[in-house]
Symmetry: C2
């Protein structure tokens, strides 16, 4: 089994797509990250959900974090507006902060995928066959493949500790 | 709206729980991370799915990554065995590598939660009321709250670019 066999058909965005819509897509589909592909379908970046958060935090809070405490929920309205008019490319690290692209070849073994994902600490890998993006591989899917999953609801391990935090 | 209002009832594990079962839980429920709570229900750590991957990679591959390429899928069988006999505590960073605990107070505003999640780059926050764990907050849920979500299937934004990678 190789990376191309595990690649899933998950939504992607382009660098010029609307940043708010991309963030809504990540939230609505509960994606750990989203792949950014250029018009030529080449991977540009993998944008993590936690990285998007940086851009929804109102500027005045970034300047003075203590303000976040005194703000009521109305301040949350300001978060979406932080993304208004922005493009996906505006959420990507600048040339000064080059980030390794989370990409693996379609021929990569599952162990290679795991090693690369662990090395980058990325929850998502872009699987490419040459120049062509084959699909996406999430850390959850990779763990499902690497580990024997019990035949129980939601793959919950038999006897697993499921203590509720509440 | 405060952190305690957003806290979800997600599964947690204890430091002495079986590492393989914890990894299966993360994979089966597609969790971005899992909260580790001690017997007193106090947060010990937030273990990310990508961090778990480090421990399922066979030792001989960690010593010689090039081996991963030549191994066939049978090698994946070795991944689960890497976790056999291990406890959750064995997957946590040692005292030499102290990691900031991804915890917020139940009174934290949504903007505070976003700022802390972005600062730590954590996909999961443990919400506590004093000593008591109130629940968990995922980055996806927080983005859903912070952003206006369109009333469309899976919260997919109207007109969002959903180009398929295939």
């Amino acid at each position: 089994m190789r990376a191309r066999d595990l690649a899933e058909d998950l939504p992607t965005v382009g660098p010029d797509d609307d940043a708010l819509q991309a963030a809504q897509l990540i939230a609505g589909e509960r994606l750990p990250a989203i792949a950014v592909l250029d018009d030529g379908r080449h991977p540009v970046a993998v944008l993590r959900a936690s990285e998007v958060l940086r851009f929804v935090i109102p500027g005045y809070v970034q300047e003075d974090p203590s303000l976040a405490r005194v703000l009521d929920e109305a301040s949350a309205d300001g978060c979406a507006s932080e993304l208004l008019g922005k493009r996906v490319r505006d959420l990507l690290p600048g040339p000064d902060r080059k980030v390794a692209l989370a990409v693996v070849d379609g021929d990569a073994t599952v162990v290679e995928c795991a090693a690369e994902m662990a090395r980058l600490g990325s929850p998502l890998l872009v699987v490419v066959d040459g120049e062509q993006v084959r699909g996406l591989l999430t850390v959850s899917h990779l763990l499902e493949v690497l580990l024997p999953m019990p035949d129980s609801p939601a793959g919950q391990p038999r006897g697993a500790d499921r203590r509720s935090p509440r």
